[in-house]
């Protein structure tokens, strides 16, 4: 019998630990497929954050390093500078990259660091139980914004891709979601381009992926996808914010 579909070589056989309905699994698979299609598994080093994706070290087939909270991009910088011919990607939650990791997020982009960073944005700190993050929406109830996020007190959600796109060294910036088959396809295209930018040595590549957290949102997996669509998509600028010509031609 002909096998027409299977697991990507970019992922190991270690079972995911993610909650039911969490979209980390989909994003993992997309990255695995991209690494396999570009044939870069053997020369890629991933950097894991602190948070739900802290165990992603075991899930990808490439070499992986675990960083301290927020520091993945600084660690990734060190790896890339030591091994410029290898591909380096950081996989971080919004709490990791957009809160404690902000300085590094800005400066890898400012330097045009030739790494790929992926932000998985579910609008909360997931691993610690659903606290308010810089990405939490106005009015959103979390364990540390029990009356809803008040922009007058704590500001509006941070749209990190928009900020990063203003920096010259960030050559590819995309904001995608994984709430529908169509968006998943677009997310994969963005991830592929983000690795191709690095292969071409053009500069820093950043992909923000809107993701769900059924457990901390207190919603079913299906309702979580609807919540993402109705509440997150209108707030965040979506699409490819910056695309270099060299990648468009590929």
């Amino acid at each position: 019998m002909e096998k027409i579909f299977g697991k990507t070589k970019g992922l190991t056989d270690v079972p995911f630990h993610y909650c039911p309905g969490c979209t980390h699994g989909i994003i993992h698979r997309l990255i695995g497929e991209v690494m396999e299609e570009l044939d870069i598994i053997g020369k890629t080093i991933g950097v894991a954050p602190v948070g739900c994706a802290g165990f992603s070290l075991d899930f990808f087939s490439c070499d992986f390093v675990g960083a301290a909270h927020g520091r993945a991009q600084a660690v990734g910088t060190g790896i890339k500078r030591a091994q410029p011919d290898k591909l380096v990607f950081t996989y971080q939650g919004d709490g990791d990259i957009a809160a404690i990791g902000t300085a590094h997020a800005i400066h890898v982009a400012a330097r045009g660091e030739k790494i790929t960073s992926i932000m998985v944005n579910n609008a909360v700190f997931g691993m610690t139980g659903g606290q308010m993050a810089p990405t939490t929406l106005a009015g959103q109830i979390t364990t540390t914004s029990p009356y809803g996020r008040d922009p007058g007190l704590v500001g509006a959600p941070v749209d990190l891709p928009k900020t990063i796109a203003t920096l010259n060294g960030a050559v590819y910036v995309a904001a995608v979601a994984v709430d529908s088959p169509k968006n998943i396809m677009q997310a994969k295209k963005a991830l592929k381009r983000a690795f191709q930018v690095q292969q071409l040595g053009l500069g820093f590549a950043f992909v923000s992926i809107l993701s769900t957290c059924p457990t901390n949102w207190g919603l079913s997996p299906v309702d979580s996808l609807a919540w993402l669509r109705e509440n997150m998509l209108p707030v965040y600028q979506m699409g490819e914010l910056k695309v270099p010509e060299e990648v468009k031609r590929l």
């Binding site: 053997g42 087939s61 490439c62 992986f64 960083a67 520091r71 600084a74 660690v75 500078r81 590094h104």
Partner: protein
């Protein structure tokens, strides 16, 4: 061999290049800045990479990443910046990554001032970051040792897969002395078969520091403890000066030890049999150096540029068997030799044979 008149900080930088350091990540802070400046100029010429991080936290984490690939890597800072590196040092120790770190101690707490100080002793030898870890800490007392210990630090880091700290002060960092730029010594070092540099042709590897299972957590800590114990047994280093017939000892490291050597000579000129024990490794603390003097000397004076930090380790090493006293200067001030000798005479009530 030719000597070169350079600052202590430049001696450290020169030694790093000689040791095969390929990457340096740093951030300017007085009085350590010459290290990053010197390497900015000279490391690229030696085929290395220098990158100025956005802060000390970025710099130490860049070191973490580079060390994961097996490259020799270094960072340098001074007290407030060294404080910022503590998180990274804890992770480096847990992930067992060989990185050489330099702390050119300035005064504190807070922003403090730029003068020579030893007030980071506790932070540098008792932890600093979270968790039960240890760094090897080497304390040079002159420019040549800034160079020599840096060479040694890279080998020790690789030998034990552990961060190694060079702890000096603004006086040693800024002072110019003639330095012999020796070559890197031959050392038998373990093969780095753990690096994450791409898994082409081999099984994937990972480097991490978490252990969410308590049982594994305990195993990890027992493993680290075993490693630290081996370092304790094998790597205690110290220097002794005129201790063979000593009635009294000075215990001092770094700049204070240098001053103390003159004090020893002055004391002996006045008939006081004084010797010096100079810890070279501050961790592991050279307990072996002090063991022979337990109950054997009349008194030990520790001379420190802090309110009394190493004195605790001296007392422990001597098992409180002899009186141990402190003479200290603070906030960037250095003690004068006469002042130290007067303190010794006064604190131990030493009768004088003759005036000089």
């Amino acid at each position: 061999m030719k000597k070169k008149l350079i600052k202590g900080n430049e001696a450290i930088a020169e030694a790093a290049i000689k040791a095969g350091c390929k990457l340096f990540f740093g951030y300017p802070i007085t009085p350590s800045t010459e290290i990053v400046e010197y390497l900015s100029k000279h490391l690229p010429k030696a085929g290395g990479t220098l990158l100025q991080g956005e802060d000390e936290i970025a710099s130490i984490n860049m070191c973490y990443g580079a060390a994961c690939t097996g490259a020799r890597v270094m960072t340098a800072s001074s007290s407030p910046g060294y404080s910022l590196k503590q998180e990274g040092l804890s992770y480096l120790a847990a992930a067992e990554l060989p990185v050489v770190v330099v702390n050119i101690n300035r005064t504190g707490p807070g922003l403090g001032g730029l003068g020579p100080c030893q007030s980071d002793y506790f932070q540098c030898t008792k932890g600093g970051g979270h968790g039960d870890y240890r760094l090897l800490v080497l304390a040079p007392s002159k420019g040549q040792e800034m160079y020599d210990y840096t060479l040694a630090a890279f080998d020790l880091a690789d030998k034990y897969r552990n961060p190694v700290l060079i702890l000096a002060d603004g006086f040693l960092g800024q002072m110019m002395e003639p330095i012999v730029l020796k070559d890197r010594p031959d050392a038998e070092l373990p093969v780095k078969d753990w690096v994450t540099d791409g898994c082409l042709g081999r099984a994937k590897r990972k480097i991490a520091s978490y252990s969410l299972t308590n049982e594994i957590g305990e195993q990890n800590n027992l493993y680290w403890e075993g490693k630290y114990q081996a370092i304790r047994e094998q790597e205690q280093r110290w220097e002794e000066f005129r201790t063979d017939d000593a009635d009294y000892l000075i215990a001092a490291y770094g700049t204070c030890a240098r001053i103390a050597k003159t004090v020893v000579l002055q004391a002996r000129a006045r008939g006081i049999k004084l010797g010096l024990v100079r810890p070279i490794t501050l961790w592991p603390f050279p307990e072996k150096a002090f063991a022979p003097y337990r109950g054997k000397v009349k008194g030990v004076l520790t001379v420190e540029l802090n309110t009394g930090q190493m004195i605790e380790d001296v007392r422990l090493a001597l098992e409180c068997s002899v009186p141990v006293s402190l003479h200290r200067r603070l906030g960037g001030m250095l003690p004068h030799e006469d002042e130290v000798l007067a303190a010794l005479i006064q604190q131990f009530n030493i009768p004088l044979d003759r005036e000089v």
